[in-house]
């Protein structure tokens, strides 16, 4: 994996698959994200953006969950070339 492949969730575009490496949030939000399947190692797909650009819906653990930029920008991952 080259460094160029590392990005934050809000930077990814529709249809991309990202393997999560870091979740830089604390407290209740971190717990909630973990419960929803945003855990390091999980593969997340960018499904769609809201008509107004934000929030962004992600496919995670066979469900679709929307996150605002405030949160998605604090989740980092590695861009995968294809679905894992």
């Amino acid at each position: 994996m080259s460094q160029a492949n590392i990005l934050r969730l809000n930077q990814a575009s529709k249809g991309q698959f990202i393997q999560l490496t870091s979740i830089n949030l604390e407290g209740v939000m971190r717990r909630r994200l973990l419960d929803l399947g945003f855990i390091p190692g999980a593969v997340v797909e960018v499904v769609r953006k809201s008509p107004l650009g934000d929030p962004i819906a992600f496919r995670v653990s066979q469900t679709t969950v929307a996150l605002r930029r405030e949160e998605s920008s604090k989740i980092g991952g590695v861009l995968l070339s294809h679905e894992a």
Binding site: V28, R31, R32, D35, L36, G37, S61, Q62
Partner: protein, 242 residues
């Protein structure tokens, strides 16, 4: 001999939990389709083989680590009210995330039935689930149903009946964590046993305390304030010194 049993319904939001609740109890509750829809706890009853079953529809939650009021309500009910059966409703089309909650619940109580709902949707999407494998691996009964068409209800009723009458018993295969965590649990467990009565899994409480679950601590203290202190008195002196 007529008896009454309490059954709690737990599950993620959008798993058709309310649909199942309605199908079992009749015209008593409205079904919703959004996160955290069932906020207040609804109740209903059904009768099977002369036994009355009182159903408690717990709030839909993603986990039971008490991140919200809903989770606290659901957790407190399962742990402290100790229903005869906790029916964990899971969505057949997103089993992975749903089983996460089921795994948390079997840590809390052995009296669990996993109810895989929305089998019709799963079949439409070409998803096949082997419930026997799950039953074996989880150590609690797993039943496949479709709540909206009442498919699989006969087996569900039967399984509930056999569980409450002790014909079968749940022997949950709880998750084993990393050795370091297991070590800590093992260290704490004996202390927990001296403080909390044995109706609640000591392993689970040890794990929750390790995780820093303050709301559980508050809840335990509150319940002990209500005249259950005699259970604790003998150990008091000994415990102060740990």
């Amino acid at each position: 001999m007529k008896r009454e049993y309490v059954i709690a319904l737990a599950g993620n939001p959008n798993t058709g939990k309310s649909t199942l609740f309605n199908a079992l109890t009749g015209l008593k509750q409205h079904t919703g389709n959004w996160a955290g829809k069932t906020v207040t706890i609804a109740e209903g009853t059904y009768v099977h083989k002369k036994n009355t079953y009182r159903l408690i529809d717990l709030p839909g939650t993603y986990s039971l680590f008490s991140n919200s009021t809903d989770e606290e309500v659901a957790r407190n009910y399962i742990v402290f009210e100790q229903p005869a059966v906790t029916l964990v409703v899971v969505d057949a089309t997103s089993l992975e995330r749903n089983l996460n909650l089921a795994l948390q619940i079997i840590e809390m109580t052995p009296n669990v039935i996993i109810c895989i709902n929305l089998m019709d949707e799963a079949e439409k999407r070409g998803i096949t689930i082997n419930e026997n494998v799950l039953t074996k691996k989880l150590g609690v009964p797993v039943v496949k149903i479709t709540a909206r068409s009442k498919k699989g209800f006969a087996l569900l009723f039967d399984t509930i009946d056999r569980l409450v009458s002790n014909v079968i018993q749940g022997t949950p295969n709880v998750v084993r964590y990393q050795p370091e965590i297991e070590e800590k649990i093992a260290k704490l467990e004996p202390f927990v046993r001296t403080v909390v009565n044995d109706t609640i899994s000591a392993r689970w409480i040890a794990l929750r305390l390790l995780d820093g679950d303050e709301s559980l601590l508050q809840e335990l203290m509150k319940r002990w304030n209500r005249g259950e202190e005699e259970i604790l008195c003998p150990q008091t002196e000994h415990m102060v010194h740990i």
